[in-house]
Symmetry: C2
Subunit: 135 residues, 2 copies
């Protein structure tokens, strides 16, 4: 049955912090908020691949402007147990909701990028005029 000889890598809090460029405080704070649940070896935190993935998801969520509470809900969807029908229906509902939000944000981004392109064009025009106008 080839019982997976993957080393099951782990990380210290400092390693994770360095990798994702956040402070220890931040990582501990996320644990406080239930976003991470590292193993304890004595009192020391040991992070498994699962935590690492979740941290990455949290940070991505942050870049998207979600609050930690919202992120918690989203991230928890990722490894939700099969569960009962009600749960699944609720999950599908959540997914629809989040998707709607994300698509709105995507539209916002497209619009902003177009606006920026306009400003840039104007900018370059002005710059041209300036450089032609005065020797």
């Amino acid at each position: 049955m080839h019982n997976s000889q993957v080393p099951a890598e782990t990380w210290s809090i400092a390693e994770l912090a360095a990798e994702y460029d956040v402070t220890l405080r931040t990582i501990r704070f996320y644990e406080d908020r239930g976003l991470l649940t590292p193993e304890r070896r004595g009192t020391t935190r040991v992070y498994h691949p699962r935590d690492r993935v979740r941290l990455a998801l949290v940070l991505r969520g942050k870049r998207l402007g979600f609050s930690l509470d919202e992120i918690a809900k989203i991230v928890d969807m990722y490894d939700a147990e099969p569960g009962e029908e009600g749960q699944l229906v609720y999950l599908l509902d959540q997914i629809t909701h989040r998707r709607t939000e994300l698509e709105q944000r995507r539209r916002d981004i497209e619009e902003t990028l177009q606006d920026l392109a306009q400003v840039e064009t104007r900018c370059r025009t002005d710059l041209e005029a300036l450089r032609n106008g005065q020797t």
Copy 2:
């Protein structure tokens, strides 16, 4: 010379608040932060099209997770005066910077949408299994 007979519409603070579904407090706060600069008729605020546009931009920026400080910089780029060369170059720099950020966010969104699609698939599979398994 057809000197534009556009009514040059204006709005009260309550009208703007209703239109964009924010509170008066929020609008005044944005003014405090220099994002809006309504005319004063007596002590009362009168909002012109420019303010209305800027409010929309601010809210869009918020949806994208920018801080009000960042939003201020972005929005101010939109109606920057031609100015001197240094200014223009700085502006172009800013544009590049913001564009990079936005593109990162767009990637984040794409990834998240794909993740959600996976979760949804799994969800529907589980739901199917459940409905087949027990009568």
